[in-house]
Amino acid sequence: MIVLGIETSCDETAAAVVNDKREILSNRVLSQLDDHRPYGGVVPEIAARAHLEHLDRLVAEAMDDAGVDFDDLDAVACTGGPGLIGGVMVGTMTAKAIAFAAQKPFMAVNHLEGHALTVRLTDDVAFPYLLLLVSGGHCQVLIVEGVGRYKRIGTTIDDAVGEAFDKTAKMMGLGYPGGPALEKIAEKGNPNRFGLPRPLRGRPGCDFSFSGLKTAVRNYMDGFPVEQQTEDVKADLAASFQRAVGDTLIDRARNAVFQFMQDYPAGNTLVLAGGVAANKYLRGRLVELTDQAGMKLVAPPLDLCTDNAAMIAWAGLERFRLGERDDLDFKPRPRWPLDPQAPKRPGAGVKA
């Protein structure tokens, strides 16, 4: 069973081919970082233009890398949402057209389901498991009961974690994307120098909030005249910020772990997915937590934590082999919660 996957929901254009032996036959990802850097964030129209410009070439390369023809495919999968709609449209139409021309089934995949199921491709993790999905656009805790069966037990009520990193870094003049830059200078900083809030810490539930933290950093920055905003100050502030994020993340994740262990005694895995998984400090904190709880922390390799098409192909494959199919009149969905029962939230949680 061979599936082509396409991903265009944010600022990565990607195409990949996977099979049901859990092999990634090809995995092409083109980052648009340079296109968006001058604007300090992802510009939807620029993203959509870049997706159209590059996607068919990336699909061609992915097919050639995998050494397969369109006739060899069993299905064509794409991200059908949630995400920036202009890009999702490009990927969806490309997948529909290939499916039509090659007379193959079409699968519209929820981008978050792609992240959620990646560990089954990479590590063959069995259901159920607890998933912490943390990226620039998403921040939620889900219990993954099975393919298509997700229970969201927590989400951000304002910014996503990665977003908080990027915005804070932008404020400190660390460039774009700022998350990795902030982590880097934080290594040299004193995490105890600045007192910052730990939003929602100690409260019941697993929701997150990061915007107050961001504002607190801004207030410190504004308190320093420009000439006193030295590298040392920035490093200390970055370290203090990162520790505060870690504290609040761990506090919320601990509640999630308790709830999961109680409701799903068979499960013993916490899966970390999304681009924030690249942050070594936060990852270390989560390892401490799972060690304490007697659970295992599993995170896909970094290139499969950030947006990619192998995860879309895989999620499409998982649904395909359960007999699911989507129609060619599928409407791309800017908002598409994995758990439709979960209440709507403001901020980064609004779309998913």
Binding site: I46, R49, A97, I98
Partner: protein
């Protein structure tokens, strides 16, 4: 040919009808011209058609502000069915490249390019402005110049002037209606396109020089196919890349000013 080679050829305009000869050879022995599937979603409509032996078949047209992404594939299937052929019989794809609605342009172009890729057949672009000019009848035109104007959902419009034989007199531009009027040389001019009412308003000072006409105000896929077919052998069709004519709305970081305080 690898898929990567196909893409390189197509986007550099090197993909010619001869590349699809192996497909064509198995088709009708005595057909005249390429069998084309034409798609247009670049405005506020959805239209598809098939061209066989120089004849437009199965043309569909629907006004559509939204929903092109949902309906395009079924339109294509229906056009092929009405034309009595399968997709395998198609030698190439013709698609409008705009100017027009950005998302709409991308829906058509992404679809056309992927259809081409999956079958390794040529994909060619046709200007939406030219497709509208093509639809102006001889009776309406009577050898006069044509000024085509398409809506851009902004103050500006997309415009281009054509001569009595529908050859371009100007480049396509994104301009204010009054500036668009100056694209046509002095003399009687036929106006076409869905922004015609805005041109007529701007032309109030010279009511005797500009005439509305009975042509469709948006492109028709049949005309898109005919234009593409006329340039098929010469390879003078446009590459299937969008004609935006307007930069994305975005402010560079240095122009974003101080951060707002919450």
């Amino acid at each position: 040919m690898s898929f990567t080679d196909y893409i390189k050829k197509m986007l550099t305009g090197q993909s010619r009808s001869s590349d699809s000869a192996d497909h064509a050879a198995s088709q009708l022995a005595e057909k005249s011209g390429p069998t084309l599937l034409a798609i247009d979603t670049a405005s506020t409509s959805l239209t598809t058609a098939v061209l066989i032996n120089g004849e437009v078949k199965g043309e569909l047209f629907a006004n559509m502000e939204r929903g092109q992404a949902e309906h395009l594939m079924s339109f294509i299937a229906e056009s092929l069915e009405k034309a009595g052929i399968g997709f395998d019989a198609v030698d190439g794809i013709a698609v409008t490249v705009g100017p027009g609605a950005f998302t709409g342009m991308r829906i058509g172009l992404a679809t056309a390019r992927a259809l081409g890729l999956a079958r390794k057949i040529p994909v060619v672009g046709v200007s939406s402005l030219e497709a509208v000019a093509y639809g102006v009848s001889e009776r309406d035109q009577q050898g006069r110049n044509i000024l085509v104007a398409l809506d851009s959902k902004r103050n500006e419009i997309f415009a281009q002037a054509f001569d009595g034989k529908k050859r371009p007199l100007s480049t396509p531009e994104c301009v204010a209606p009054r500036q668009a009027l100056m694209m046509a040389p002095p003399g009687d001019t036929i106006l076409a396109g869905d922004a015609t009412p805005r041109l007529l308003t701007a032309a109030a000072h010279a009511p005797d020089a500009f005439y509305d006409c009975t042509a469709h105000s948006l492109p028709r896929a049949g005309n898109v196919a005919l234009i593409a077919a006329s340039r098929w052998e010469s390879g003078e069709n446009l590459a299937p890349v969008p004609m935006y004519l307007r930069a994305p709305d975005a402010r560079r970081i240095e122009d974003q000013g101080p951060q707002k305080k919450k």
